[in-house]
Each structure stands twice: as structure tokens, then as C-alpha cells.
């Protein structure tokens, strides 16, 4: 009987934690947003608004972020639903 009561009380919490965690992963590892930032960085360089050095430094940072995000999604998506 105790077991059943605990089960009922705990389940909504599990569900809420899952949703929060899923949202956090989407925001922290937003692959599409990073890809957009990479394209924007390239565009600003091409139209002469971003100096080469700044462009290259930003690109390195973003490529690293992208790699981390892609790996994280791959590793975590099996455990937590991540909307694409």
C-alpha cells in the first residue's frame, strides 16, 4: 500500500524533472542556433563588418560549441527526448 502511494506522489515530479531537463538540453545544446551563428559570422566577415582575426577566433569558438552540442545531443537524446 505504501509503495503505491509513493508511486503516485513521485510520478508527477519525475515528469516535471524530465521536461525541465529536456528544455535545458535543447537550450544548452541548440545545434541549429549555433549553425546560424556560424553562418552569421561568415556573412559579417564577407560584407566587411568583422575583421579577419575576430572572424577566425569566433569561428573557432563556434565550431567547438557545435561539436560539443552535437556530441551532447547524441549522448543524451537516448535518455531524454530532445526536440529537433
Amino acid at each position: 500500500m505504501t509503495f503505491l502511494l509513493d508511486d503516485v506522489l513521485i510520478k508527477p515530479w519525475i515528469s516535471l524533472v524530465k521536461i525541465l531537463r529536456s528544455t535545458a538540453i535543447q537550450e544548452a545544446y541548440d545545434v541549429e542556433a549555433i549553425q546560424d551563428d556560424i553562418k552569421e559570422n561568415q556573412l559579417l566577415y564577407e560584407i566587411g563588418e568583422r575583421p579577419r582575426e575576430e572572424y577566425e577566433q569566433r569561428r573557432e569558438e563556434l565550431e567547438l560549441e557545435l561539436e560539443v552540442a552535437e556530441n551532447a545531443r547524441e549522448n543524451l537524446s537516448g535518455r531524454v527526448e530532445v526536440k529537433q
Binding site: Q35, D36, K39, E40, L43, E46, I47, E49
Partner: protein, 214 residues
């Protein structure tokens, strides 16, 4: 003495209508020679490569594009169906199988894009400037409609981007298209930066799913 050669695979740039040809052009992964693999009337333009998964570096991407531009600038070649970066076949046999299996769709696509090139147009808002985006987009469509065959929308990946499109343009209409772009630059010069690129192989107007068994 036994010499062990690295496996030579075929990096594919695109498909043309026509027979055997060879081009002294720099290709992907340091290739210096492009040649064709034929199946009936179709030819795939390829270069040798020792990996099935070439690295997507700036240098390789540029080599892929430049090779396609050289193919397109050959007066004897009416059209090229471009492949996306990274299409490698183990040998000529699976490549010929793909040409055979996709022959009708490739031939139809080559006919559709014959004598055309792709041009890219991006309009970027000057920093801090607000423009009526919808009105700009409509105006640009109107100005370019008569001098292009087709337009396609690309992603607005930056808040500063007002318009990002590709246009399929007849080679014979290039001058008129350039003049229309100059008109757009004159009209919006104070508020929008114009980025006009090309000619490209018509990547954005070729919608082919080719099943590959490498």
C-alpha cells in the same frame, strides 16, 4: 618488389550530358585531374581520392565549387547537375549503377537547367537601420521576375538578413539580371548591404535523392 597502392576511389562533382572528357583542374583532396565516368549519354565528372570520407575543410569545399565552375564555363558543356560535397564511390561500377538507375531523372534535370546558372542574393540591413522587410522582398521579387527563370528562398539565419535567395538565370539574361541587381543596390544603398554572388552550379534548383550503394 611489390608496391602497395592506396585504394583509389572516385570523388564525384556532378553529372553532365556528353562523352569522354578530361580537365586539368585542381580538385578535392589535392587532385589535379578531373575526368569522366560514362554510362550511355551521361557522364559523371570525378577525380581520384584515397578516402571515402573527405574532410569538409574550407580548402576542399572551395576546390569542389571551383571544379564545378570550371566545368560550367566549358562552352561544350550545356549543363551540370551538381553533387553536394562529399559524394565518393568506391569504384566506377557503383557509380555507373547510380547513373543507370537515375538516368531518366538526371536527363530530365539536365534538360531543365540547360543554359542556366544560379546566382545568390542576400540583402543585409545596415546596423541599427529598420526597413519594411515585406515591402523590400516584394519589390525585389518584382524587379527580378522578368530576368530569371525561378527563385528560391534560403534561410534567414541572422536578424540582420532581410532577404536570402537563389535565382536560376538563363546565361543569355545575365546582363539584364546584373542590371536589375544594380538597380536594387541604387534603390536601397543607404539602408541595405547587397551581397551578390555567382555564377554557381544550380545546387538550389536540383532536387534529387540518389540512392547510393558505394
Amino acid at each position: 618488389m611489390t608496391v602497395i597502392m592506396a585504394d583509389e576511389h572516385l570523388y564525384t562533382y556532378g553529372v553532365i550530358d556528353g562523352a569522354d572528357r578530361e580537365l586539368a583542374v585542381d580538385g578535392v583532396a589535392g587532385a589535379t585531374r578531373l575526368y569522366t565516368v560514362e554510362y550511355r549519354t551521361l557522364s559523371a565528372v570525378v577525380s581520384d581520392i584515397d578516402t571515402l570520407e573527405p574532410e569538409q575543410t574550407d580548402e576542399n569545399l572551395r576546390a569542389h565549387d571551383e571544379a564545378l565552375q570550371t566545368i560550367m564555363s566549358d562552352e561544350d558543356i550545356e549543363a551540370v547537375v551538381p553533387m553536394r560535397f562529399g559524394m565518393v564511390f568506391k569504384s566506377a561500377r557503383p557509380l555507373k549503377n547510380v547513373l543507370r538507375g537515375s538516368r531518366s531523372v538526371l536527363t530530365r534535370t539536365l534538360n531543365d537547367i540547360e543554359g542556366t546558372v544560379e546566382m545568390g542574393l542576400k540583402l543585409v540591413a545596415e546596423e541599427g537601420v529598420t526597413v519594411d522587410r515585406e515591402s523590400v522582398r516584394e519589390d525585389v521579387s518584382g524587379r527580378l521576375r522578368g530576368v530569371s527563370v525561378e527563385e528560391t528562398e534560403n534561410g534567414l539565419f541572422s536578424d540582420r538578413l532581410v532577404l536570402n535567395r537563389s535565382y536560376l538565370v538563363e546565361r543569355d539574361d545575365r546582363e539584364a539580371f546584373d542590371a536589375a541587381i544594380a538597380g536594387i543596390e541604387d534603390e536601397y544603398g543607404g539602408s541595405l548591404i547587397t551581397q551578390y554572388t555567382g555564377p554557381w552550379a544550380p545546387y538550389n534548383f536540383v532536387d534529387l535523392e540518389i540512392g547510393v550503394d558505394r
